[in-house]
Symmetry: D2
Subunit: 403 residues, 4 copies
């Protein structure tokens, strides 16, 4: 098997040489589809496609722990995971483990091959992301077993080009425990009653949608996982999802620090360069310090996640630290670039946009701080017992908008 340093080197080369230069095209509706297809082909050709997906589904079968070593470099561009076929990891894992076999067989091969796109729809307009029990989309089962779904979702990534939407809906009555009241259903995009309401303008970027399920019906076999078990499934994907995103944010933070370093070295001011100014040195040192600290914290969380060990506090800390490191690094790079750093051509506003969203998506930082502290205090109270109770995991981890 390929030496891991070599693989990492090749992957980083691919992202820097192929994905990053294509970012403008990937964010331009008219050119996006073609750019994605070209990158997909190139990634497959390079043997870099779908690295963490199981071999039996068409992936490269890299264990999670090994993939985590690559996720930072893959994530140097927000488009890296999609370009390299690992963006489907969370959905593919969920379907492989919980979907009806027939559904699974129909979807998985295309999903892993990058030919079918899936969207995951949890967040709803008007409902706090921190309050999943407040979700209002409902699914009712008719006597023939079919589910009838009604409700609205938003911040559904890639809904417009999805062939299938995984939607979290209330399936149980009010007397069930809130945490046991929701299920996940797979809805084909062509189902009657499903529609894209509008594309959201998220800090100037597109790709996220408000969607509506207006009495959409799907067969009983489209229930994913146990009835009433939706929030548990959602919670489980969150730990992995957050870890991956934290790694990607660090990748982008590292990219921002590199741009910052290049700028201060090269920008001349008479006989000096910006690198000779202590306030610029301060920006460099602080950004690097935050990136390194966040990287170590995130790797620690990732190793717990890979080992399937309790990781809620560690993931919260990694998430918060990575979002901050990216915010600091992108902001500092812009400051060093001056007015030019505000322009799209510098590539920096894109990093700043991801940075700002990072402090909200995957659970606003405040939720992680408050929830993380409560969990930490329980751990300190039981001195030496550094693990939370297993059933705590569900409640906290499902919180937060984002997948």
């Amino acid at each position: 098997m390929e030496d891991s340093d070599n693989l990492r080197h090749r992957l980083r080369e691919f992202v820097d040489a192929q994905v990053i230069p294509a970012e403008d095209a990937l964010e331009d509706e008219a050119r996006a589809e073609q750019a994605r297809a070209r990158l997909r082909a190139a990634a497959k050709e390079a043997g870099l496609w779908a690295l963490p997906l199981p071999a039996e589904q068409g992936g490269a079968g890299l264990p999670l722990a090994d993939y985590f070593e690559l996720a930072e470099d893959e994530g140097r561009s927000d488009h890296g995971p999609e370009a390299l076929g690992s963006a489907s990891l969370l959905n593919a894992r969920m379907l492989a483990a919980h979907a009806d076999p027939g559904l699974r067989e129909r979807i998985l091969p295309g999903l892993v091959a990058g030919e079918l796109h899936l969207a995951y729809a949890m967040t709803e307009p008007g409902v706090a992301g921190s309050d999943p029990h407040g979700l209002r989309t409902e699914a009712k089962q008719a006597q023939d077993g079919r589910w009838r779904i009604a409700g609205r979702k938003w911040f559904t990534s890639g809904a417009a080009r999805a062939g299938m939407i995984l939607v979290v809906a209330r399936t149980e009555t009010e007397d069930a425990a809130p945490r046991d009241s929701f299920s996940i259903l797979a809805v084909p995009a062509e189902a009657a009653g499903f529609r894209i309401v509008r594309e959201l303008d998220v800090l100037g970027a597109g790709g996220q949608y408000e969607i509506e399920f207006d009495q959409v019906t799907v067969p009983a076999a489209h229930l994913v996982g146990p009835r009433g078990g939706g929030l548990r499934l959602a919670g489980r994907r969150l730990a992995l999802g957050r870890t991956l995103r934290a790694l990607r944010w660090i990748g982008q933070a590292q990219r921002a620090v590199e741009l910052l370093a290049a700028r201060v070295r090269e920008r001349r001011l008479g006989a000096e360069t910006l690198a000779d100014r202590q306030l610029m040195q301060g920006l460099v040192f602080e950004a690097e310090l935050q990136v390194r600290g966040a990287r170590l914290l995130t790797r620690q969380a990732a190793s717990l996640v890979a080992a399937d060990r309790p990781s809620t506090v560690e993931v919260s800390m990694a998430k918060v630290a990575a979002a901050r490191a990216l915010s600091t690094a992108a902001d500092s790079a812009i400051q060093a670039y001056g007015a030019e750093g505000l322009t799209a051509a510098s590539g920096l506003p894109r990093l700043l946009r991801t940075a700002r969203a990072a402090r909200i998506l995957d659970g606003a930082d405040e939720l992680h701080i408050s929830g993380g502290a409560r969990r930490l205090l329980r751990q300190y109270a039981t001195a030496g017992n550094q693990t939370g109770r297993a059933d705590d995991l569900v409640d906290d981890t499902i919180r937060g908008s984002g997948e």
Copy 2:
């Protein structure tokens, strides 16, 4: 004359009821011209047009000190000054004081009436905003007295719809003192050799341009102010310009705090609202504290500027504090809104965009910090003598991109 509280109240009503709802239109190229015309007419109708412009030029003749009382509310929208006819203040003052009478008469009435737009072009691609002596645009005078201008500028606001561009160009040879080497020239947009190179994408917004002067010639009478005195004129407009922008940033910061307060009061979480959460209370308190502090500092600077007294340190502090207050308030409002705050529909990304630019435009904060500290140290060294030397003013104040 109208009672000042009443005037302020009416102006704020106008901004909130007319300008803010029109922001989307004003930022959409297809609808902007019509929206501007409609607002201009409404402002004139309401007697709110061109308040600080001299009566003899067609303005309402409000003294600077009185206008400063209104500038915060006017600036609650980035489009307020334009909608209310005070955006032309800096250019009108410069032309009234320094332009050739013929030129002045041709331009001023239309400028003050809002029928002619002027652009001010100082910043250049590839030249640090902090280093005006590095500007490379040149103007050479032919024997017939005409000036021939060659060079590029960028971050020129509103260049595409300007009828005239005021451009800072090197007119003196290398043996002149750097600070005496530049002059300001007025270039009609229809002059041969002038062209818009491209519109810049500035954090997703338009309206700023890269422009080129390719051997453009203008008559001798288009020299504004004394030959070689360009940086002195530029420096003088900066003190006023920065003060006005600081006031406007505070207006937008106040708007962000109001949105933040409304959100935390209204967002329900079970039996509570966000307002019951201490971390949200913290966001409210800190944002309000920063806005109030920045407001007081900016008013203090404004009163010095209105009295034409030394104000460099005070303006630097106001600028830095106002930019930070806006950054904090806009960021906190977004955090309280959650994912919805990232969407254009919330109105918040627009405030965040201005906030991010504020820390760079008008001189990056680092320049104000370093320059302000050096000046402060001189003041402390001469204990009790709290004023800088007059000739210091020029050097420092001309720095910074932005007008």
Copy 3:
């Protein structure tokens, strides 16, 4: 009457030339009494004694609004108010307004003359400063009208040299409303059952005590203010007390900035000085910015307090801003001094100590942030009505340890 600028100048001279050089002596038990006596005599001689105290009590009769103009300079040393006879202001006002005439006549003259020291005892060991309703010291009235007091207090400033202690004690039974359950009683230091338990070591400084009332009895006439009205009285003195202390902290912050400025100017590093280093410039600018902002906020609060208008939010903001400005300025001065700044001889640890305590005394910052935000949110909710309800004032303002 003396010109106010002249008075301020003389007062500042006195503090800088007489009080600050005496700080070591004033903090050394063996020399303190003599140093105090010398300063008291000098202040009286200079006509600077007891400026804000009413003329009929032996003070100079300066209105509060005028005294506020001086309080910052007086507070450049923690010992300024005592040295200048204004430290008794809060107690003197309370006694003048609320004490039994006989008691008042016996105490006030000596208090204002600086010959009698009073201590104010509210905070108790084991009771959160934010929870005055939890106070456990009790006073019961016997049939003969005498009060019998039992309980412990701590952080009682100057208890060891006090001739009289004003103590907040529960006088009502559990069925009274908590806010109406406490009264203030004056206890002579020589009363049987009163004792100093120990002097507290507060960040290395002395002067604060734990004291005990072990069945101390005092006459009925020693009740100060209405029975059950203790927390209302305590609340009222807090608004003034906090404002004064905020002004004094700003005085010390200003002193720290001056020390910082002097150090960076004078410290040589080869051909340069520290003043040439941008990171040092950053310390100077940030400290000055915070001091100026806090000064303006505190003056705004002070003008409300002087006018007896609602000021809770403004005082909270002033308190938080002043404590932070002092923390920043003292910390920065130490950083610029390097290791020498850690030594007592530099005078800086004293400022740092006051700074650290400032964020806790007078109500921990967190209480002001949380309470201030809730009050602000009510104000924003009633748009335009920028004043809190009067009866809100009591509840929040009594919180916080310190007088």
Copy 4:
């Protein structure tokens, strides 16, 4: 050999049960000597004495990498290293490697046994810690080979009880390169002309001294290391010294977080505890996050130091991060304790004192930020070449007061 987890557990027990309770005694001149002797005996009895010292010198012979695993827990008290006999590590290593054999044999056994104390004297009054080339203490060699030393040092830890002082003095003339101009000499405390000038009051603590060498003479054999090589030796001990101190600061930061956690859990406020307050949760989360991040960064630096690989940037980052983590944790614990946290009895002021000093000693943070950034920028410039040039190490690492 003892299992490392077990050793670490025993060591931590020893520090918590024996050293921390003795801190008051160890800082009280009258009781210190006895307390030190008792702890020394107990540590030897427990087999915890001199763990990192070489076996041939009387230590336990633990390799550096293994000792680094223990240093955090040992450092939970500032007195841990002395109590456990590892405080002599830096001096012992320097002497073992560089001292004349006779001198070495006379000193090392007593030093490692804890019976002889050595002081290391580098910092001088009036000379910036960042400018070792400015040191003014001189040593001149007479024809008989004896060295005659004249000069002053301060911040010399433990000088009053030292039997020998290692002093950095200029031995070469002005025409030598500055970095080759200094040497290290061992001066017996009883040498004529050596005296303790005064004990410094460092944030209220003692133990550091100003000392004078007034024409003190020592034999030629008291030169430690090569003539002119003093700064190189000093630089080398700094990398290890800084790493050890960073580990110890993290130990104390961890102790502060534990105190913080205990306080917020236990402090009641009516039906709630402080742990239910989000602002307190924020203090807990942020402190823990900083401690964990600093720990990972410091371990990374330590592993480079143990492997004798280039580590300047990593040590700078560890130093800065550890000092900040301790500052945050100690400050937060005090804030949660309220006024009680300001008292010596809470144990927290001691941690805050170390925290404040940490940002200055071992090189002020600003030096690490500026120097670290310059080094980082060189590394980024040579892309992929992540190591600094070896000869850079000397210049930067010698900077900073402290050993």
